[in-house]
Symmetry: D2
Subunit: 359 residues, 4 copies
Amino acid sequence: MLEGLRPVFQTTGPVVIYPASGSGAWEAAIVNTFSPGDRVLMFETGHFSNLWCDIAQRHGLLVEYVPGNWRRGVSPAEVEQRLAQDTNHTFKAVMVVHNETSTGVTSRVAEVRRSMDRVRHPALLMVDTISSLASMDYRHDEWGVDVTVAGSQKGLMLPPGLSFNAISEKALAATKTAKLPRYYWDWQEMLKPNRAGFFPYTPATNLIWGLRESLLMLHEEGLSNVFRRHDRHAEAARAAVHAWGLEVVCEDPREYSSSLTAVFMPEGHDADRLREFILDNFDMSLGTGLAKLAGKVFRIGHLGHFNDLMLAGTLSGVEMGLRLAGIPHQPGGVTAALNSLVARRQGSSVNSVAEGVLS
Amino acid sequence: MLEGLRPVFQTTGPVVIYPASGSGAWEAAIVNTFSPGDRVLMFETGHFSNLWCDIAQRHGLLVEYVPGNWRRGVSPAEVEQRLAQDTNHTFKAVMVVHNETSTGVTSRVAEVRRSMDRVRHPALLMVDTISSLASMDYRHDEWGVDVTVAGSQKGLMLPPGLSFNAISEKALAATKTAKLPRYYWDWQEMLKPNRAGFFPYTPATNLIWGLRESLLMLHEEGLSNVFRRHDRHAEAARAAVHAWGLEVVCEDPREYSSSLTAVFMPEGHDADRLREFILDNFDMSLGTGLAKLAGKVFRIGHLGHFNDLMLAGTLSGVEMGLRLAGIPHQPGGVTAALNSLVARRQGSSVNSVAEGVLS
Amino acid sequence: MLEGLRPVFQTTGPVVIYPASGSGAWEAAIVNTFSPGDRVLMFETGHFSNLWCDIAQRHGLLVEYVPGNWRRGVSPAEVEQRLAQDTNHTFKAVMVVHNETSTGVTSRVAEVRRSMDRVRHPALLMVDTISSLASMDYRHDEWGVDVTVAGSQKGLMLPPGLSFNAISEKALAATKTAKLPRYYWDWQEMLKPNRAGFFPYTPATNLIWGLRESLLMLHEEGLSNVFRRHDRHAEAARAAVHAWGLEVVCEDPREYSSSLTAVFMPEGHDADRLREFILDNFDMSLGTGLAKLAGKVFRIGHLGHFNDLMLAGTLSGVEMGLRLAGIPHQPGGVTAALNSLVARRQGSSVNSVAEGVLS
Amino acid sequence: MLEGLRPVFQTTGPVVIYPASGSGAWEAAIVNTFSPGDRVLMFETGHFSNLWCDIAQRHGLLVEYVPGNWRRGVSPAEVEQRLAQDTNHTFKAVMVVHNETSTGVTSRVAEVRRSMDRVRHPALLMVDTISSLASMDYRHDEWGVDVTVAGSQKGLMLPPGLSFNAISEKALAATKTAKLPRYYWDWQEMLKPNRAGFFPYTPATNLIWGLRESLLMLHEEGLSNVFRRHDRHAEAARAAVHAWGLEVVCEDPREYSSSLTAVFMPEGHDADRLREFILDNFDMSLGTGLAKLAGKVFRIGHLGHFNDLMLAGTLSGVEMGLRLAGIPHQPGGVTAALNSLVARRQGSSVNSVAEGVLS
């Protein structure tokens, strides 16, 4: 399983499996590499960057937290500028949420890496991929990521209860000087027995059996096809939103998420009332607006085990909900989405052969 | 379980459970009530009436088989006329398929009963409800049905492997003179141990556990709500078909099925090519045209465990398939279906309290 | 699946799968091959031969039913004598229960065949293997059996709901003149679609998926190892019974069953009281005495998915039950069984390589 | 669920659920209550006390680790003496493993509490019940425990992946001054959302559904009956071990575990060879000797979902394994165990009414 996970992270290095949910893997990234008082550079991209920042601070890190409007990802230019000024290399890490689950905005990790390289800053690059891994293209090695944080319950299509760290050589080396106390999350404690085919403590066996099936499914479809499928669904979802005359939270098309689409409600209308309406009538639960987006935003998930017709059903539920709840909008969202899906299929050779990143 | 099944058939009489698929329950209805040479009146409504007729003939019955165009149900007037002429009461039974799975056409069983009553004909009334029971309103007692034939894998939402006979007093009495050999299907052999809480031979235990869950689900929703749900889906499916400019097989609105909708392809286009196209592209398998409708018809199922958004996804798959396969049609089917679903919900009080035939 | 079943029956001919329990496959053997008034030769070996005889009679067969004491299998000598006298070949079939589930007595089918051959009698040989197939050695082709009847819920380790007929050329030929009415059980109706990869009516799909797993398990262990395992368990069970000073129902060691062991209670003690006692105290349900053995016999099953330690637990439950219920017996049954199991393992090379009838 | 767990811990205070295995709940107990440099008193009872000690040290605690011979539990007298000498109350906690899974030795927690009370020492009492909870009597409130550590995969009969802390008022108060960094394990972060019906991060939902079933099963049997059942099995297992002439690891009958029994091999015989032998022949996996007991000890588990006949099967496997592997021993272990089980049942009224701690 440990071998089979590597292609999913697009890495040849080690991946560790924790019996824990994603928040544990966030904490693991921190306690293995830092000492209290270390400085790190983080960016406010939404609710989940806030939480990760909070964890860092609780562990005594000094977080330079660049504010954001929750509609944009990390600015590679900003990374470059901040690091350029840090001539003493006080920043130990740049920590980025790849796909902000609260906003449907991604950060361009490859560009962040290039910014870091241009100023030759030695900080570690840590990336949270909890809601992107195995749904969107993500390249741990090629993008020079040092620690990737992931979980079981999104792109890996499992129940929650497993989380992951993919670890670079450089991150492993950082453990030697990292003084934060650790046992459960300790990479060295995990990697030693892993090499011999064991876990240092009782693993979540049932979920690991499930993981075996997930990896087989991803392998069968081919990772590049999986990514293309989610791209197609995201594009169609946005087509629907635009047709309704509503606004997508994400401001920059380069940063659209293929895992989920967050949508602003028209001024004066409560997103949670709409969500409840749709749940009651159509037995479908949309994502709620989190923290400062509460009531203002609803979120449409299209990640993991998902296909064109599930998306069509989902958008139909939203469109009927908007009508029944009397929310001002234009009709035709579902039609726009179907047009988008058809156009994509007409453009590509139907049933194209999987390119098989995994194979 | 035997008790719990009765409200589903809307009967207070006995229901027997066979470890068999629906064809077995067809055979059971015959071998328990007839002797070789008995005359019965049947109507060609489609592929399944053909099969039942074939079984009757193989058991030595003389079937008066009234031809039909596969677009209409049993004509109550025809029943009345044929029975009126049968002054010697040579017909031992009238045998009707309630919902023709091959055509999406229902027969008006209550009216058939009234026809029989008007001419005071003593024939038994036997009805196949394999694809209607627990999806469409069906009343064994009120409609004076003598033998109802049903199966597990449609409205009861189970895997195939169980089938049923609901039996009237009059049908039970007929067993005394019925000379067809029988053991496995023998009602008397089944009812005796049933009364004591046993089966006469090994029952299909796992499916019976599943049946317990099905009955709980139907009870929880309330049978009348279940029927209304399928009516709503059928209406919306027809709205889509009409918007596409295609033709529904069923000619008479009084005979529309709420379990499935069969649709004619435009002249010169092969239904199975479309079906294969949709399966390949959208992982959705539509019903094929059976026997003389092969290639000419595809069938959309909306029975059993099904909701509004599953229907929306289903119709979206058909609409996109029609476009991708280049089948001549008008756009807007899905939109028409959503309009229909919304109109129904606006007309009724949202979240109406279950009336609870089962409760 | 149809291919995979053949090695289990040790046949190269066709096997049909019914969505039905074993009683259905009994009926199928009859309706496919006989006409009302046909004579058949059967032997009273216990409750299940009685039932099969009853089915035959209900279908109008004239059964020559040779009485028995329920402690012996079919006498090959008796077969030979009866058939020798039947110079006009009025017997259309000899029908034998291979393993009498009610008594734990087997019939020596190979010797029955030899008896038939010696007198050159053309009768069909039909064998019920419901509780022996895939637990005990059974050779449809080599033993010249014409129809083998089997079910899913014993040696095939599945829930009940599937049953089987393996069919010889000669039996198939008999269908041409067999006048009993049939549809559900009709071999010809089944074999035609089977050859094309279909079933003539809805199959019990979930059980067929289960069957795939069963066949894989049998293949993995190797059929000859499966048989040896059950032989070992049966021998150990008898060792326990003898040590307790109780009597096994089966009188002739050549006819011991490897699927189950039926045991007489000491005079004046009720088997069902003991069974209830064991169920209440140890949550283990022994087989009851059937029909004329009611109260006099309990039955220990050791077929299907079963291993040495499950047997040890089972016999421990019986031994503790005998003591707690105050049934006169000698101690040491479990010890004797363990001795028997150990002796068998010491005699054979431990972990012997599977010989792989299936492979 | 949070409510339903309390009776299992025999507490009226809060219980928190972590998506983590038991080692995580060990770490949680530490990081919530301590600051680096805090002194704690621990006792070497076996492999698991060693591990917990290691975790404490990795978090900067100064552990006074009282050595032990791995055959005895914590000495209440030793606790009393050590604490009496600690007049400045430098020990912040006494940390005890209730049931040493590596040795089958329990510690008498109630007596440890009394020792602490006699010298009026304010240290917290922390207890690991990973392999005892819900199999052996354990009283968080009555015994004055401050933090109880538990896991899902033993007495709660679930897969691994959930772990628990039950927390006293005093332990909660200690969080205010505890300086160890924490987020994932933070009780305050967990309890606040718990009170509102939420979790602070994604819970391991599937396991929580499983927990609902476990609690229903424990409730149905009654906790006191569960404990009596395991006591009975442990007594019978020891009877077998003694009959074989082997030695139980636990030296003091007051400290026998009812969850498992660890057994010394005769001098010069390798426990792991025996274990492998039994696994190969009987498909049963005994527990291995851990750390310094490797090769010297095998362990028989009789906890969680387990009954008399499973124990009989288990001991039969051991006895046959000893014989086949040529390990010197006396026969008669299984017989002794059955005698013990029968004696217990004869002593108690059979089918005694559950006293129902849970009800």
